[in-house]
Amino acid sequence: MKRVGVVALNTFREAVRDRVLYNLLFFALVMMAASIIAGQISIGIEQTVIVTLGLSAISLIGLLIAVFIGVGLVSKEMDKRTLYALLAKPVRRWEFLLGKFGGLVLTLAVNTAAMGIGLFLALMYVKSTPEQGDATILVAVYFIWLKLALVVALALLFSCFTTPLLAILFTAGIYIVGLYVQELRNLPMQVMSPGMTAFTKYLSYLMPNFENFNIMSMAAHARPVPGSLIAQNTLYAAVYCSIVLTAAVLVFSRRNLK
């Protein structure tokens, strides 16, 4: 397990040196603009504007990092052959894979936490009277991070057996489907054959449900989040990530390098 940590810290260092965290500057600009706009429109919806814009930006920036860097975690190492010297050392392939995953999830944790704190400060700045429900945005940021971890796991899995471009498309495709899992379950039954109905239903349970992690409207209206939802989402992300990573390890452990 120690070797997982060594690989993870190196992956984090790579992200920092490749200036991945520079996106925080972009986010800071978005938040400043949002604060100015919110200040100019009528009182009452300023919180909605700032929170919606801020959480959307955190999610979008995080998704771009999770998909593009996630796909490159292993494929770039195979392409440049940087993992040859490493895998000849006493490192198991699953340790390498988990280390890469851990490194990017750590990078995303630092990134989303910094943006979350930025958003919270911007909100405090425009609001005249802080209320208890404002802390909901911190939970919303935590949920975004859980969602990103799941996306990284998917990107890693796909990049273990296909080309980077296809891996990006597959990951993005599953993400989009995962946003509409609820709609998939509630499709009007009468328009489809019974077989098709069963298929879409099973498919909807197989797909990651990303909508579960979206509590933007709760955050925008400063409604408190029930503890059960936090526990449920944490468990869901942990179990789903474990399954996807196990699949990735199974594929990667048998893979012939070039």
Binding site: K2, R3, V6, V7, N10, R13, E14, R17, D18, K80, R81, T82, Y84, A85, L86, L87, A88, K89, P90, V91, R92, R254, N256, L257
Partner: protein, 325 residues
């Protein structure tokens, strides 16, 4: 297959049994291309073993199979008596990949420190070893420069440093001389000899035959995915049959019959004669007033042996193609 007289030593450091690698290719991967065919080979403990062959012969495939970067279609391999799947055994192996490339956002010192951490070395030990290795490969002044700014030769040196960083018992080097200038090659040769003196087993692949002749206790010649001969370089080539070469100077003209066979450049001549005719030729040359500069045996080089094997392999491949098999 050439006859090889191997030295009998202790248990082999590396042994392969019927090691085979096929790659699927073509439409739906239905065709198979054999990259390595039934390799049976042993590298003895403490020897320097050269693995020689032309490009695409299967040298790198063998080494990658040993490192478990790729998996065999058939056969098995053992290192230090343990199956290659034994991950802890990899503590005792140092490996330099072919045309190595490393994380270019790290400095050489950081990269070596990273690998030392993977080997679970203590902080003090890491610091000392990293400095020692950088010095050993001539990079002590470049240790703090990011690897993205390194030349190919410098990367090769870093690769060498990471291979021997953890004091392994067996060092496997894939084309360690490629991309190096004469100075760099000399340094790598010195490191290999130093490892040999330390009692380590070294296996390296190369297509630079003079390096193999100079360094190796034994070489294995691989052509077309098949091992074609194993033995000491001097066992693989026959010294006696090649005759003697006389180098001499001769001013002016002479009609000595022996001169007809000599090749001339300026006043100097070079003459090859069978060993039995050596003294007769020298007599004739003395009579003609020649000044003999040197007499040396003509050895068939490893290169000639190598070229013969490659030619034979190509002829065979062409014959198979013609017969449509």
């Amino acid at each position: 297959m050439l006859v090889a007289k191997n030295k009998v030593m202790s248990a082999p450091a590396i042994e392969t049994e019927n090691l085979t690698k096929e790659y699927p290719h073509g439409f739906l991967n239905l065709k198979k291309r054999t990259s390595l065919e039934g390799l049976n080979m042993q590298v003895e403990t403490g020897e320097v073993f050269g693995f020689i062959g032309p490009n695409g012969a299967g040298k790198s495939t063998t080494i990658k199979l040993l490192m478990r970067l790729i998996f065999p279609t058939a056969g098995s391999a053992r290192i230090l008596g343990k199956p290659i799947s034994d991950i802890e055994m990899h503590r005792d192996i140092g490996y330099l990949p072919e045309q190595p490339y490393f994380y270019d956002y790290l400095t050489a010192a950081e990269l070596l420190d990273y690998f030392a951490r993977i080997h679970d070395l203590s902080a003090a030990d890491r610091k000392e070893r990293v400095q020692r290795m950088l010095k050993k490969v001539g990079l002590e002044t470049a240790g703090k420069i990011q690897l993205r700014k390194y030349s190919k030769g410098m990367l090769q040196r870093v690769g060498m440093a990471q291979a021997i960083l953890h004091d392994p018992k067996i060092v496997i080097l894939d084309e360690p001389m490629s991309g190096l200038d004469p100075v760099g090659r000399r340094e790598v040769r010195d490191i290999i000899l130093e490892l040999k003196h330390e009692g380590k087993t070294v296996m390296f692949s190369t297509h630079i035959l003079s390096d193999a002749e100079m360094l190796c206790d034994r070489v294995g010649v691989i052509v077309g995915g098949k091992l074609r001969g194993v033995g000491a370089p001097e066992q693989l080539v026959d010294v006696k049959t090649q005759g003697m070469e006389i180098l001499f100077e001769l001013a002016g003209q002479s009609v000595a019959p022996v001169l007809a066979k000599a090749t001339r450049s300026g006043d100097r001549y070079r003459l090859q004669v069978p060993e039995a005719e050596l003294y007769g030729a020298i007599e004739q040359l003395r009579a003609a007033g020649a000044r003999i500069l040197s007499v040396a045996p003509v050895r068939a080089t490893l290169e000639e042996l190598f070229m013969n094997l490659v030619e034979a392999d190509r002829a065979q491949a062409a014959a198979i193609e013609v017969s449509g098999k």
